[in-house]
């Protein structure tokens, strides 16, 4: 790549030709404010907040889309630039509701932050506030189009990163709207409820449907036995939302905080992640021995499941019939747990704490009632937990670490790594290898399936049979893998697919973090927890073994099938 020299605010910086002014400025240590720009997305140049002066150019240039040229002279801080940015921002603000104190994104809003940074003290334009309908058709996400600033980040993430294409722009100019096709709610569209749009949104135009009030109400109801299961990706993601280092494991403090909030029992979804490995591992071995159908594809990610129901219904029988760990937990909580502890399942209020918005949709699926009740009553995202912590004025960093409760608090490191891409495959390998070969696995760390690459491949020898594995995250990558299978180009035996880029650590319910390396840090937190665990294989989880002995019999037994397995429904592609 050719290197060019650009002068930014008087400093020479060398960058690849093809880089944008924004890239060059970053290298030069110059911060240019942005709004429609997002590190994960192709630049769009929609908001004109990043305008800069380019010597010799007639107009101000949008730094996020303007490519550099050799000997280009750029000034990012001139009176004209400051004035133009401010006017552009004021014009956006003039059409915005400015309902900050009651907005979900208050104090975590890029528009608000820009107004602060640019010293906006009044909005001199009248503007036009719109009165579009709020879309609350989905159990997972709420769209508030009046807050939309038309940056297109949700449209780009939905299309370019997820290839879901549920969202688009409609009409033109002042009449422009963003959302699913006109007259269609998110729930009735091809939206998979992954929530990546909510993470990408710079303002409060799309966000999770909150279960906080329902959960508070259950906690304050003396008749209710309120239990919570926590997904592995949450413990490494709350730190940053509380102002601590991203990726810092907070397992013990999280358990302590949940107890302070008033939950009766603190359990972990990692328990049923271990159970998933037993069920899904057995299923995989069965399919390998009985001629398929292969590849077997994981079913933990509800966004992925809805995606495959819409886009690849011909592959539904390739999906593992295993419910996700959340739903396995839900089914067991109101059966095994209720029986064992003599609690009327009607009085159990089962909450799950998830990095995910699609889990809210999954919990609401009609078939998720194997216990005879709705298996999971409420799903809280990581963001909602942080909100509850703040509502309760808890200083989590000052709490002493506490343990999960028995019996569903027992877990292995293999279950913890479910929280990041490659984790399910690695956990499955740790167990299957030993089940098949009868030998101890030579290493725990299976590097080929680790890391944040979009598509990873590996081959494992099990008793002289090469088992081909693929691991992917982000639905555009998933679509690519499925198309390879469809065309016959790939012949995997086992595929792990997670709907969100990076897996659950990058989930749509996670804290909103404008940085670019937070996924790596959260993943590293996950692997730290695994490395420090004494039990690192799912089949060595004693509580899981006990559950089979006391209640389920064997993996894939009829009882296990009734409670822990499910079926899928083809959905409309368009």
């Amino acid at each position: 790549m050719e290197i060019v020299t650009v002068k930014i605010d008087g400093h020479d910086v060398q960058v690849d030709r093809g880089a944008t002014i924004l890239d060059a400025a970053k290298l030069a240590g110059v911060k240019i404010p942005t709004l429609c720009h997002h590190p994960m997305l192709r630049p769009d140049g929609a908001c004109r907040i990043c305008v800069v002066e380019v010597a010799g150019a007639r107009n101000l240039a949008a730094a996020c889309v303007m490519p550099v040229a050799d000997k280009m002279v750029v000034n990012t801080n001139t009176p004209m630039v400051r004035q133009a940015r401010r006017v552009n921002l004021e014009l956006i603000l003039a059409n915005h509701p400015l309902a900050c104190p009651s907005c979900k994104r208050n104090l975590n809003c890029e528009l608000q932050q820009l107004a602060l940074d640019m010293g906006v003290s009044e909005i001199p334009y009248e503007g036009r506030k719109r009165e579009l309908e709020i879309d609350d058709s989905s159990p997972a996400l709420i769209r508030e189009p009046n807050k939309c600033i038309y940056c297109s980040r949700c449209v780009r993430v939905c299309s370019d990163v997820q290839s879901v294409d549920a969202l688009s722009f409609y009409r033109r100019g002042f009449d422009t709207e963003v959302g699913p096709p006109p007259g269609v709610g998110l729930m009735d569209s091809v939206c998979v409820q992954c929530g990546q749009c909510a993470v990408a949104c710079p303002v409060g135009a799309i966000y999770e449907r909150s279960a906080v009030d329902d959960v508070w109400q259950a906690i304050s109801d003396p008749k209710k036995h309120v239990i919570v299961q926590t997904a592995p990706a949450v413990q490494v993601s709350i730190a940053e939302a509380l102002g601590l280092e991203p990726g810092l494991p907070m397992t013990g403090k999280m358990a302590a905080a949940l107890r302070r909030l008033g939950f009766d029992k603190i359990f972990t979804t990692e328990f049923t992640a271990d159970l998933t490995i037993m069920e899904e591992g057995t299923e995989l071995l069965g399919r390998l021995n009985n001629g398929g159908p292969l590849p077997l594809i994981t079913s933990c990610s509800p966004g992925w499941i809805k995606f495959v129901e819409h886009n690849f219904p011909e592959f539904l029988e390739n999906l593992s019939t295993c419910k996700s760990p959340q739903q396995m937990f839900g089914a067991l909580a109101k059966t095994f747990y209720a029986e064992k502890h003599g609690i009327d399942p009607a009085n159990i209020y089962s909450v799950s704490l998830m990095p995910c918005t699609a889990k809210k949709f999954e919990a609401a699926r009609q078939e998720m009632n194997a216990s005879g009740y709705r298996d999971v009553d409420a799903v809280l995202t990581t963001r909602e937990l942080v909100r509850m912590i703040k509502e309760a004025s808890l200083d989590v960093s000052k709490l002493d670490d506490e343990e999960f409760d028995v019996p569903f608090g027992m877990l292995s490191g293999a279950a913890t790594i479910f929280g990041t891409t490659g984790g399910v495959a690695e956990a499955a390998l740790r167990t299957i290898y030993e089940l098949v070969t009868g030998e101890e696995i030579p290493t725990f760390e299976y590097e080929a399936v680790r890391g944040l690459d979009g598509i990873k491949e590996a081959t494992v020898k099990l008793n002289n049979v090469d088992v081909k594995i693929a691991v992917t995250s982000g639905l555009k990558n998933a679509r690519e893998v499925m198309n390879r299978i469809k065309s016959g180009e790939a012949d995997y035996h086992f595929i792990e697919i997670m709907g969100c880029p990076g897996g659950c650590i990058g989930g749509g319910g996670q804290p909103i973090n404008g940085g670019s390396d937070y996924r790596t840090k959260r993943a590293s937190g996950i692997y730290q927890i695994d490395a420090a665990s004494t039990i690192r294989k799912s089949h060595e989880n004693t509580a899981v073994k006990q559950l089979y002995k006391e209640y389920l019999g064997e993996p894939n037994s009829p009882k296990a099938h009734k409670l822990l397995h499910t079926h899928y429904t083809p959905r409309n592609r368009y």
């Binding site: 294409d165 409609y170 409309n572």
Partner: protein, 167 residues
């Protein structure tokens, strides 16, 4: 499968009159070619007179273009119509000259005669009533076009007679 049944039902109203076959013939040529979208939409609109939802769904499926993107295109361009169009299209000029020469009285009379507002279509599909920024025939102000006929120097009392010329 149940899904296809739903699609078929949605499309049956179009099968009977042969339009559906024309649409299918059109789509055969441009299968899985998203870049043909605008052309296909134009042709489909020529067949149906507008773009019914079932037709858009069928195009979405045939060209492999997400429904959201199709609606993005259809709502962006004013040439596409999501609602049925009248057999005759009235375009009333909104230019300065027409405004000064009292086009609003003509608009009022047309509304009164047809019982529809600007931008709407009569229930019997006889007329669609639209406004345009300027027809460019200011010397004839106030001007109304019906289909390709220009009616200039119009007065409100001439409106009923002119409308009666179109069936």
């Amino acid at each position: 499968m149940a899904l296809e049944q739903v699609k078929l039902e949605k499309c049956t109203e179009f099968i009977s009159d042969g339009m559906y076959h024309k649409l299918e013939a059109l789509l055969q040529k441009d299968k899985k070619s998203p870049e043909m979208l605008i052309f296909v939409l134009q042709q489909a609109q020529n067949i149906y007179g507008y773009l019914p939802e079932a037709v858009l769904l069928r195009i979405s499926e045939a060209l492999d273009v997400p429904k959201a993107k199709i609606y993005g295109v259809v709502t962006f361009y004013s040439q596409f119509h999501l609602k049925p169009r009248g057999r005759n299209v009235i375009r009333v000029c909104q230019g300065t000259a027409c405004h000064v020469r009292g086009v609003s009285r003509i608009v009022g009379k047309i509304k009164e005669e047809l019982g529809v507002d600007v931008g709407e279509t009569t229930e019997d599909l006889r007329f669609t009533f639209e406004s345009v920024a300027c027809i460019g025939a200011c010397g004839l102000a106030p001007v109304v076009m019906i289909n390709s006929d220009t009616h200039g120097r119009l007065t409100a009392d001439k409106v009923p007679l002119i409308l009666s010329l179109y069936e």
